[in-house]
């Protein structure tokens, strides 16, 4: 579903904790039926942005509009589900009690048993929170986030601590919510997660937006291609090829990192027409992310 209906719009958000600036000039739009991944290193301001969206922190600078209205109303909150990074619950309550408690906050909640099954908690409904494993707790917190059929689902590192199977189960549940038309803001450190789920990515670093766009657009932010080939050229000759930033030879295979892959490739073939087993690929998301979030360090140095 991609009807481009804007569910949330943040404009020029700024936030300081005392003298420490946590966010500055942040714009973000969340669209119906889309997953927006919020990427950034620790301390980038992701959780502050999420807390501002949820109304847990008061606005200092900028505006937030949710569902076309102001953010801080109970009506708006009834259309939002949230899973926070530090989201402890009352640990003596059982999984069923917690789900039924949260279900009572929303006008049209999901039926408890089907939610328990969807989140892999069937059979654990009578177990208290403090007797669940770390992964089971994460899945229960996810269930609390989605119990109200949210139109906007905000997930702050939802799969941290999950094993691969449980992670994929959560991914499936996120994809199901997207298919139903929910807008999802997903903060994550897992690039594989962002690659799989995100329709849109916002890279945040030191409180500022460094890049926004589709995953392809983010990858293209970094002019860096990897070329692998079998060639007889010596390493020194490979390093002298145009745009090559790094060259290495392993056996008869050379690997080049280039700022402009096509140009490097043409020069390589001119220098060694016999080069074969050619392979060129653009930057992956992790490479792009690292380049975008460490650029500031280089600028500052």
């Amino acid at each position: 579903m991609s009807d481009n209906i804007q569910v949330a719009a943040c404009r020029s958000l700024g936030y300081c904790y005392g003298p420490a600036m946590a966010l500055e000039g942040v714009d973000l739009a969340l669209t119906r039926g889309k997953v927006t991944a919020l990427l950034g290193p620790n301390g980038a301001g992701k959780t502050t942005l999420i807390h501002l969206l949820l109304g847990v922190l008061p606005l200092q600078q900028g505006t937030i509009r949710l569902f076309g209205g102001t953010a801080d109303t109970r009506g708006a909150r009834q259309r939002i589900g949230a899973m926070l990074q530090i989201g402890g619950v009352q640990h003596n309550l059982t999984a069923r009690e917690l789900i039924e408690l949260f279900a009572s906050f929303y006008p049209a909640p999901v039926e408890t048993d089907s939610l328990l099954a969807e989140c892999g908690l069937a059979g654990l409904e009578a177990r208290r929170f403090d007797r669940l494993s770390g992964g089971q707790r994460q899945r229960l917190l996810f269930a609390l986030a989605v119990v109200g059929h949210p139109e906007l689902l905000i997930l702050d590192e939802p799969t941290t601590g999950l094993d691969p199977a449980a992670r994929r189960r959560v991914w499936g549940a996120i994809e199901a919510r997207r298919a139903e038309g929910a807008s999802i803001l997903l903060s994550t450190h897992f690039m594989e997660e962002a690659e799989r789920l995100a329709d849109h990515i916002c890279v945040l670093d030191r409180g500022r937006v460094r890049a926004t766009g589709t995953p392809d657009e983010i990858r293209r932010c970094v002019p860096r291609d990897t070329i692998r080939t079998r060639t007889g050229l010596p390493i020194q000759r490979l390093r002298e090829l145009p745009e090559v930033q790094h060259a290495a030879i392993d056996g008869d295979t050379a690997q080049l990192l280039s700022g402009a892959g096509t140009r490097t490739l043409r020069a390589l073939l001119e220098a060694d027409p016999g080069a074969d087993l050619l392979e060129m690929r653009g930057a992956d998301l992790e490479t792009a992310f690292l380049a975008l979030t460490t650029a500031h360090d280089r600028e500052a140095a």
């Binding site: 922190l57 939002i80 926070l84 009690e97």
Partner: protein
């Protein structure tokens, strides 16, 4: 006729959740229930049986004050650190229902202490009150949890979970001792008696002693002091709640 659907009522659900969480917490239930009842059994029934009605009033006051301070203070400090308060504030949960739930928990334990102690007093201590007096004693002590709930709530909003038990004990134990709940304030030196008259447990005990027919109380003064403390700690609670907004996630 409107029927109340329990499962769909956030107020009832939150009140139930707070009470269940407390009841299932042995670190809270055992000391909160057992200490005042044990103290009463020892002092009121064994050591000073002639004073068992007086000591019923003062030790029951000691019990309900502790139940209110600890149920609010430690749980709010812990839940703040665990992220439970943040999760609820991010949800459409009515915050007032969260506070009402905690008040219900404190009230539940306060009444359990009063009932247990009254049963001991009537069954083994020979304490005889008429039905109206028993009910009035329970009502005074139940309503009297309010200022102590607010003191506990405001402390929980300001203290870390590690500091909360120690600080609350440092406030609680001297306060109940200086209020004359263990040793009558009339036996204190004059300057300490003056101090007792400014402490809220002293005034709650005064009201309890009055309804039990042990001693006439100055109701206007005692109720005024308790309401004054309630107002002061309501203000501190409001400031503490707003302070949560500025705490770094």
């Amino acid at each position: 006729m409107t029927t109340l659907n329990f499962n769909r009522n956030p107020w009832l659900q939150l009140i139930q959740a707070q009470c269940l969480n407390l009841v299932r917490e042995p670190a809270y239930t055992l000391p909160t229930l057992l200490f005042p009842v044990m103290f009463y059994a020892f002092f009121g029934l064994v050591m000073l049986p002639a004073q068992s009605t007086w000591l019923l009033c003062t030790f029951a006051t000691f019990g309900v004050v502790g139940a209110a301070l600890f149920s609010f203070g430690i749980s709010i400090a812990t839940e703040r650190a665990q992220g439970w308060l943040k999760l609820l504030r991010a949800s459409p949960a009515p915050v007032s229902a969260l506070i009402a739930g905690k008040a219900a928990g404190a009230l539940l334990f306060g009444l359990m202490i009063v009932v247990l102690m009254s049963a001991l007093a009537a069954g083994l201590g020979g304490v005889r009150l008429d039905t109206g007096q028993w009910l009035a004693l329970a009502a005074v002590l139940a309503v009297g949890t309010l200022p102590f709930s607010l003191i506990g709530l405001s402390m929980g909003l300001w203290l870390s979970p590690n500091a909360a038990p120690a600080v609350i004990n440092i406030v609680f134990l001297p306060m109940v001792f200086l209020s004359g709940l263990w040793v009558p304030a009339s036996q204190f030196p004059a300057w300490l008696q003056g101090l007792a008259a400014w402490l809220p447990p002293y005034h709650l005990a005064e009201l309890a002693l009055h309804v039990a027919g042990e001693k006439p109380a100055d109701w206007a003064r005692s109720v005024g002091v308790l309401l004054g403390y309630s107002a002061l700690f309501t203000a501190l609670t409001a400031i503490g709640w707003r302070r949560l907004d500025g705490i770094r996630p």
